[in-house]
């Protein structure tokens, strides 16, 4: 097993079957997507604050450009960054090594799912260059707008004119991405169940493995109806059927339902892996067992089931049955309870611990604080259907989901990067740059997202290219808020270059790790060499303990690796 062969660049980045290499391929692909999404965010934020300015590197933003930018920013960040980074990358890097095995259950399937992902990325990027321009109908792709040429006012001119549109390409990209993630999810699921190291019972697995698996299963079921719906939408666009066409008795609301039936569990698919990452980091850095391991798993399962019953809170004013809306509102409020339990368990882990303020810990604490205080709690505002009448489709919603997604996706990913980078490369990320990166990101993320709450309360509705037409949105402090948000967002985006520089610099020149276990952690990935060889372990571990046995009584050191008898 320990025959680690040196492979060339092409082999490593295109044909390798090793789960770590595939994870790295996913990561680089997603870096590409994120830089596009981030660039779009920069352009439209600049346009919002300074509508007349020619945005540097882009030029003047027209209404059409603006719609295209926000749509693709949303799609890229939700579908390719969040889902890809947290399921594919984290799952690929961590699952096999954390459960103490050599690779995925189906390495070839893993490779194929990466290729599907790559195809989806290519299709997505190709969609920007279609004859009629990129997609501009909102990332939710609500039908009458996303079906025809409504956005462009041109008549139907045959199949080719429909096929070579951004709508078709984006939908195909989404189908390919879902297929990729479905295959990946099945792979994770089977790997976890069948390839665990000797002694690794289900309740000795690290939380992050649990979370990725629950997320994969949740994804698998919630996405089914949407896949069917996507095929129907593709037929509507390209063949001219009428599934969502009100002229033929079709119903645009049906797509909204299907989309959010996937879309809401998707939020939890995105949320669960970072919660797992936070569990690892908080427990390791508090030098204390994770508080309520089984409780957290039970609450997650409960939240997973509940998350399939709350989707219509995205549609309170979309014309759904008001009585049903009441039910969905109550269920939405109820789903806050299991998450409150999970967050409280994390906070309880901090208590009576011995906290180390390492970099990953800072990211983790920042994520917990922001997610709970401003993301989770404003969820109560929006879950209450009455206030949602006013807040729906305003900047309040934008601020809310940036406060839920940014701390989990971005902070969670960075926490994972700073935590596991040394394991998978054998070198540390630079600490000083990391600290600067953290504080700038933390401050300017708040500077960007908090004003949006105030703008939303003032009635600023979403996806408007130019607010100057609305006098009530140009009253005194509001343009200032918009400028604060923009300047913060721009600095936030620039800050990420620090990380990119740090990442590639440390890859080549970073400080080498002194030991295999710099954080003195318990889980199995720290018990092999850094970077792990092909096949992960020289000697396959046998597991005796749970993953969070820090400060176990009657031990001379404060951590007990899982494979230590």
């Amino acid at each position: 097993m320990n025959t680690h062969k040196k492979h060339g660049f092409w082999h490593r980045f295109f044909f390798s079957l090793d789960h770590k290499d595939i994870g790295f391929q996913y990561m680089l692909t997603i870096f590409l997507m994120v830089s596009i999404g981030g660039f779009f965010a920069y352009v439209f934020r600049m346009h919002l604050a300074y509508p007349d300015m020619k945005v540097p590197l882009f030029g003047l933003v027209t209404n059409k450009d603006y719609n295209m930018l926000i749509t693709n920013h949303g799609l890229i960040m939700m579908m390719w960054l969040a889902l890809g980074m947290l399921l594919a990358v984290v799952g690929n890097f961590l699952i096999p090594i954390m459960i103490g095995t050599d690779d995925m259950a189906f390495p070839k399937l893993n490779k194929i799912s990466y290729w599907f992902f790559l195809i989806s990325v290519i299709l997505m990027i190709a969609s920007f260059f279609m004859p009629k321009g990129g997609l501009g109908g909102g990332w939710t792709l609500y039908p009458p707008l996303s079906v025809g040429d409504f956005g462009y006012n041109t008549p139907y001119q045959g199949f080719a004119s429909r096929f070579f549109t951004a709508n078709t390409f984006v939908l195909l990209a989404i189908v390919f991405e879902f297929t990729s993630l479905l295959m990946g999810g099945i792979n994770f699921f089977v790997t976890t169940l069948n390839k665990r190291a000797k002694g690794m019972s289900l309740l000795k697995m690290p939380i992050v493995v649990w979370m990725i698996n629950i997320a994969s299963v949740l994804f698998m079921f919630s996405v089914g109806p949407l896949v069917a719906g996507t095929f129907m939408l593709l037929l509507d666009i390209n063949v001219g059927t009428g599934f969502y066409d009100a002229y033929r008795g079709g119903d645009p609301l049906l797509w909204e339902h299907l989309f959010w039936f996937f879309g809401h569990p998707e939020v939890y698919v995105i949320l669960l892996p970072p919660l797992g990452i936070l569990a690892e980091i908080i427990s390791t850095n508090s030098r204390k067992p994770l508080f309520g391991y089984r409780f957290i798993i039970n609450m997650t399962l409960l939240a997973g089931v509940l998350s399939m019953m709350v989707w219509a809170h995205h549609q309170f004013v979309a014309g759904i049955n008001p009585k049903a809306a009441t039910v969905f509102s109550i269920l939405t409020i109820i789903i806050s309870l299991p998450f409150a339990g999970i967050i409280l368990a994390y906070i309880a882990t901090l208590w009576y611990g011995k906290i180390r303020f390492t970099l990953p810990m800072k990211w983790a604490l920042g994520a917990v604080a922001l997610f709970t205080l401003l993301g989770g709690f404003t969820g109560l505002h929006l879950g209450a259907s009455v206030f949602d009448i006013y807040a729906h489709d305003t900047s309040f919603v934008v601020a809310h989901f940036h406060y839920t997604l940014f701390p989990t996706v971005i902070f969670g990913t960075y926490a994972a990067m700073y935590f596991w980078f040394n394991k998978f490369t054998g070198r540390h990320l630079n600490k000083t740059l990391g600290n600067i990166h953290f504080w700038l990101t933390f401050i300017f993320f708040n500077g960007f997202a908090f004003p949006l709450f105030l703008l939303g309360l003032a009635g600023q509705h979403r996806r408007i290219a130019d607010y100057r037409q609305f006098e009530f949105l140009m009253q005194d402090p509001l343009p200032l808020y918009r400028q604060i948000a923009t300047i913060s967002a721009v600095i936030l985006i620039l800050t990420q270059f620090i990380f990119i520089f740090n990442f590639f610099w440390s890859l080549k020149k970073g400080k080498k790790v002194e030991s295999n276990n710099p954080w003195e952690a318990n889980t199995l990935e720290w018990q092999t060499s850094s970077p792990p060889p092909h096949g992960n372990f020289a000697v396959y571990p046998v597991v005796y303990h749970g993953p969070y046995e820090y400060n176990m009584p009657e031990r001379d050191k404060d951590f007990t690796p899982q494979n230590e008898a």
Binding site: M1, G100, T101, D102, A105, T191, L193, N194, K195, R196, A197, K198, V217, F221, S222, G224, P225, A246, Y247, R248, G249, D251, L253, L254, H257, F261, V305, M308, M309, W311, A312, G319, I320, N321, K323, A324, G535, V539, Y540, P541, V542, N563, A565
Partner: protein, 115 residues
């Protein structure tokens, strides 16, 4: 710490199912049963009232489907996990149909002329 074979690899070599684990129903009997139910389905379609036909035919379909699942696919002898997976799929669809019903069926809609 002792070395042992990579876990999971032991399943690469598949051994014939042991009789106590993989039950062996009489496949031909099940097949005949399916054909009988299938004939019933076709006859039931002559009842007339679409609602009754729907209920009868759909229930027979469920019986047929579960027969294929249980015996042909050996679900009866599979561990609980598989049952849970299928139950989750069923649960998903139940939520979907309950959530969609009030917004699709009883709603009054009209056909919008094309602009």
């Amino acid at each position: 710490m002792s070395s042992h074979k990579a876990p999971g690899l032991e399943h690469e070599v598949w051994v014939p199912a042991e009789p106590d684990y993989h039950g062996h129903p009489n496949y031909f009997k099940i097949y005949i049963g399916l054909l009988v139910l299938f004939a019933l389905t076709v006859f039931a379609s002559f009842i007339g009232n679409p609602m009754i036909v729907f209920i009868v035919v759909f229930s027979i379909s469920i019986i047929k489907g579960s027969m294929v699942l249980l015996y042909f696919m050996h679900l009866k002898w599979e561990p609980k996990l598989i049952w849970i997976l299928l139950a989750l799929a069923l649960m998903t669809l139940t939520f979907l149909i309950i959530g969609l019903y009030p917004d699709v069926v009883p709603v009054e809609r009209y056909l919008v002329p094309k602009p």
